[in-house]
């Protein structure tokens, strides 16, 4: 009986795992599996290591045995022990001709070795040979090994020479349907491979003109061949657009990409609109004027109830922000930021607002307003640097010698803060800024009394008593207020609540707060002259000079030495390095020659130039460690010679806002894109840039589209509403100019529409009619030629390009079919129609489930029933 059971177990074991392995190996695995402690496992493995070491030394090991040994080595490594004594055998096994042995060898080496291991050199040759093999299994094994074992240095040895034309030719063959039919997906030949190839081409062609040129043909073919009525066709089109935006494209390809994008944007499908917006964001870098013709589509997406689409559109707007449209864009962003709860995205959009405001702000007041809004609504999410920048800006003002403007700016900041402060629950960072500004400038203008400001500051300290940083800022602000009062000779009466606050803080657990409170108390007791030298008025921008040598103590030292004290010997002298003393006195920043140098090497000359230029731009107090050697006389002449070049370079550098040099550089840097946009030639650039005011002139001038939207378009796209019609006629060259005759009557009736109702996406209308209501109404007002084209499409209406309409409707039908809507279109799924839903089967399943006590989560359990109708 007992015997039978063992036979049974062994039979079972044989069927499960005995791939020709010896009993020894099976026992090893079994005993490790049954080990009760790590120590026991280690013991087993160590003895196994001994056995293997011995066995591997034997001469003439049969290959099959060797294979098993190597697998046992893998097992040992897997359990955390060192099997390096056997690595070389694994390497040798990769040379074997037998496929099984070779693959075992490759498996083992990829597990044993890393890309920097010394033994790799022995494998490279084998890999090269195996890549040329006829057997695909061999090639795959080699390729797998390459992934793990080949580093940057060895790549050239195994990398085919002409990657680009190989990939291009593969892609070409795929699109020519040279692959087996079974890889077709919805009549598209191997689309997933096509997409992968396009991604690879985008990498290979980026910044490489000659590589890009090889790709033009196949990319152009793809644009022509791709069926934009299927989702997968659009996926490939989108990937083409992406590739084109990465490589150095030809004008023809750009045009094809722009066409594809406009098809996406005109589609009714939200998915395709999303892709269109994304594509626009990519192409806009290469040809900035492309967004202009789609401005209304973009605005529609911006006002769409779909959050995903809205965010994508904000991303696009962020990419196309310039000084002419920054106000509108940032206002929109902030409105949206206030409306959402998702902290992750709130942080992102807040930092984008700050970045745009810093880069393009038209005025200081505006900047401060924007910053206030950002701090108020997302203050806990923004970087502390932003707060510091804002404080610096308020302190430095315009940077010009225009004290009047500066004090106006400060007053407006103080006023806005006094107003905001009354609101409950402000973010800590914002309160810090407020406290600092109030302390520094609260009483500067004479409009507010010291007791009023100090009362407000006490309120802040009281209301946010758990926030020590805010309290610290508030106490320091109080100290400044009092100091200014004392210095100006007025009598200071400390409010009772301030007194109690100070007293409370004198006993605070926070040493920082305690110190601030004591300092404040001490300051109140000083006379005006002393106070003024401690805290002079409006001196936050003055550099504080620190005498590192402490020379003002010299007299004191002299006195001490005269009265018999030992003179100070520096640490270096004490450790007996007297010989270097002279050297040190010459240059404090050189380390003894025989010690390690911790300083970076001197920068090469050309790159030192921009550094200098940037210090010119933002005059941070020149640190003393800019040693003389760094500024040879020649530099100044060089920098003069290259000054124009330097200015150009600075365009790319992120510039902090609010410096005098900034103003000039923005105008310099922002003009070229405008010119490229074709707007600078336009008479109403000024109108577009000063967004809000000229509304009425706009309406009277161009009344054809909803004025609200048009205004938005104008301010976003640089006053191009009238250029749109110009553009239309110019772009008519490559589009069928079918609708030009019917244009005027169509454009006129549009201003009838009231703006706010445009966004009514609320009711789920039937397939194909998803466009905004007003435009549906417009259909009646238009002539019949545009109606029959399914003019639900906004752009279709506006541009009367009849061509895209048919495609959009068919796209919509496919997508709606795939979604859960019960209106099916059985034609598209030949593969499934033959089967059809089996409602009887479904009912049986349902009944079975109910018997088993499980409630199906759906009334209609057949997934495809809906789809197939």
């Amino acid at each position: 009986m007992e015997q039978l059971k063992t036979i049974g177990r062994e039979l079972a074991m044989g069927s499960q795992g005995g791939f020709g392995q010896s009993k020894e190996f099976l026992d090893l695995v079994k005993s490790i599996g049954e080990a009760r402690s790590k120590a026991e496992e280690d013991r087993i493995v160590l003895s196994e290591i001994d056995i293997l070491k011995r066995k591997l030394l034997e001469p003439d090991i049969p290959k099959r045995k060797m294979k098993e040994y190597i697998i046992r080595l893998v097992y040992i490594e897997m359990l955390g022990h060192d099997a390096s004594f056997g690595y070389i055998h694994a390497v040798k096994m990769t040379h074997d001709d037998n496929l099984l042995l070779k693959r075992t060898g490759y498996l083992a080496v990829t597990l044993f070795l890393n890309e920097d291991h010394d033994l790799i050199i022995l494998i490279v040759n084998t890999i090269q040979k195996d890549l040329r093999s006829d057997n695909y299994l061999v090639v795959c094994a080699a390729l797998n090994a390459i992934c793990r074992l080949i580093n940057e240095e060895t790549i050239p040895a195994v990398l085919p020479q002409d990657l680009v034309s190989s990939f291009v030719s593969i892609l070409k063959q795929v699109t020519e349907r040279r692959l087996p039919k079974s890889y077709d997906y919805h009549q598209m030949p191997a689309p997933f491979i096509q997409i992968k190839l396009l991604k690879i081409m985008a990498l290979l062609g980026s910044g490489d003109k000659s590589a890009s040129e090889i790709m033009y043909m196949v990319l152009g073919d793809l644009f022509r061949k791709c069926d934009s009525s299927t989702n997968i066709g659009n996926a490939i089109l989108y990937e083409c657009i992406r590739s084109i935006s990465c490589i150095i494209p030809s004008p023809k390809l750009l045009e094809a990409a722009a066409d594809a994008i406009s098809k996406f944007l005109k589609s009714d499908s939200h998915n395709l609109k999303y892709m269109g917006i994304d594509g626009l964001g990519r192409l806009i870098k290469i040809s900035p004027d492309i967004a202009e013709q789609h401005q209304l589509a973009v605005i529609d997406c911006l006002e769409d109830p779909d959050d995903t689409l809205k965010r994508k559109t904000f991303e696009l707007l962020y990419k196309m922000t310039k000084s002419s449209n920054v106000e509108v864009i940032v206002d929109r962003m902030i409105d949206y930021m206030i409306s959402i709860n998702d902290n992750h995205y709130k942080t992102e959009i807040a930092s984008r607002c700050v970045e745009l405001a810093e880069q393009f702000a038209p005025s200081n007041q505006w900047f401060i307003q924007i910053m206030n809004k950002v701090f108020e609504h997302a203050g806990d999410l923004v970087n502390i640097k932003v707060a510091h920048n804002l404080m610096r800006l308020i302190a430095e003002g315009f940077g010009e010698d225009d004290d009047d403007a500066d004090s106006k700016l400060r007053l407006s900041a103080v006023e806005s803060y006094l107003q905001i402060m009354s609101e409950p629950k402000l973010p800590s960072l914002f309160l810090q800024v407020i406290s600092w500004v109030l302390g520094e400038y609260g009483t500067a203008d004479g409009k507010y009394s010291a007791s009023y400001i100090s009362g407000k500051l006490c309120d802040v300290a009281d209301a946010y008593s758990s926030d020590e940083t805010v309290k610290g800022y508030a106490v320091s602000a109080l100290m400044k207020i009092y100091a200014f009062e004392i210095a100006s000779g007025r009598k200071v009466d400390v409010l009772p609540e301030c007194q109690s606050l100070i007293e409370e803080l004198l006993a605070s657990h926070s040493t920082d707060l305690q110190q601030r409170a004591y300092e404040l108390q001490a300051l109140l007791a000083l006379d005006a002259r002393a106070v003024e030298s401690i805290l002079p008025l409006d001196a936050s921008c003055e550099d504080i000079e620190v005498d590192k040598d402490l020379s003002f103590l010299n007299g004191y030292i002299q006195q001490a030495i005269e009265s018999g004290a030992q003179p100070y010997i520096s640490e270096r002298e004490r450790s007996g390095m007297l010989e270097t003393t002279d050297y040190h006195s010459q240059d404090h920043h050189e380390v003894p020659s025989h010690a390690l140098r911790f300083e970076a090497y001197e920068r090469p000359k050309p790159s030192s130039l921009p550094t200098q230029a940037s210090t010119e731009l933002v005059p941070v107090p020149e640190p003393s460690y800019y040693s003389e050697a760094h500024q040879p006389i020649s530099t100044s002449s060089v920098s003069e010679r290259e000054s124009s070049e330097i200015k150009l370079r600075l365009d790319g550098v992120k510039q902090k806002w609010g410096r005098p040099s900034y103003q000039s550089s923005t105008s310099a840097s922002s003009t070229p894109p405008q010119a490229a946009n074709g707007t600078s030639s336009h008479p109403d650039v000024g109108v577009g840039s000063s967004s809000l005011k000229p509304r009425s002139s706009y309406e009277s001038k161009k009344p054809e589209i909803d004025p609200e939207k048009q205004r938005l378009a104008a301010s976003l796209f640089g006053g191009s509403s009238s250029s749109r019609s110009d553009r239309k006629s110019s772009s008519g060259g490559h589009k069928p100019a079918k609708g030009t005759a019917s244009k005027p009557p169509k454009e006129n009736p549009i201003p009838v529409q009231p703006p706010p109702d445009l966004l009514d996406f609320g009711e789920p209308t039937a397939t194909g009619v998803t466009a905004t209501d007003p435009f549906k109404e417009l259909e009646g007002l238009m002539d019949s030629s545009s109606q029959d084209g399914g003019s639900t499409d906004v752009m279709g209406v506006l541009y009367s390009d009849a061509a895209p309409v048919t495609t959009t409707t068919s796209v919509d039908s496919l997508l709606s079919e795939l979604s859960d809507s019960s209106k099916g279109n059985p034609g598209t799924y030949q593969s499934q129609t033959s089967k059809g839903p089996n409602s009887k089967e479904a009912l049986e399943k349902d009944a079975l489930v109910r018997q088993m006590g499980v409630n199906p989560t759906s009334q209609n359990p057949t997934l495809f029933k809906d789809l197939l109708g």
Partner: protein, 203 residues
């Protein structure tokens, strides 16, 4: 590489084609190591999630490391976001710097999480491809099929995706492999049955 190209002929054997695909995957791996800054552009699927309209999880597959805690948090957050979206909106959701592509089939939401730089439309088609294979295997698949035969759903997904990358795009091949797998399971069951029969006989 030239050899690989020579594979690209009409008479190509299916299995050889697999090697072409595998090699492409690997080629792209190289490029990744060279252009690591662009690596995010080659991101793969981070996880697959099937959630019913009631928020019940029907299948999860994680291709990137997430702790158990993170997983349940991800599921909770995402099903909250996705189940509440209207029918006509995008099939994409931006979520914590990633994108989640989802699609609803009857009562089930199929979701896949990808990098921000990935091609959403492609992933939408991967989802559809998976559903088509499920449908072909189960014969008009329904949620109950996935509840009772969840392991089959996982097997099929494993044939389709490996490590978050699409691995086999031929429906036929997947069907063939899955049916071969089914046969092996049957054979093993029979064998186990006969052994226990022998033992039972003897005792």
């Amino acid at each position: 590489m030239d050899r690989l190209m020579s594979l690209c002929v009409p008479s190509l054997d299916l299995r050889k084609h697999r090697s072409l695909i595998a090699s492409l995957e690997i080629q792209s791996c190289y490029l990744l190591s060279e252009h690591s800054c662009l690596a995010s552009g080659f991101g793969s699927i981070h996880f697959v999630l099937l959630v019913s309209r009631q928020g019940k999880v029907r299948l999860t597959k994680w291709y990137s490391p997430y702790t158990q805690k993170e997983r349940s948090k991800v599921i909770r957050e995402l099903s909250g976001v996705i189940l509440n979206r209207g029918p006509k909106l995008c099939n994409f959701v931006e979520w914590r710097g990633y994108k989640v592509v989802y699609k609803r089939y009857a009562s089930l939401y199929f979701c896949m999480c990808i990098d921000a730089e990935d091609n959403e439309l492609e992933v939408l088609e991967i989802i559809h491809h998976y559903v088509e294979i499920l449908d072909r295997y189960f014969g008009s698949v329904c949620e109950l099929d996935l509840i009772f035969n969840f392991h089959k759903a996982y097997y099929i997904l494993d044939e389709l995706l490996i490590a978050g990358e699409i691995q086999e795009s031929s429906k036929k091949t997947v069907a063939r492999i899955i049916s071969a797998q089914d046969q092996m399971v049957e054979a093993a069951k029979e064998e186990a049955g006969s052994i226990s029969y022998i033992i039972a006989q003897a005792s």
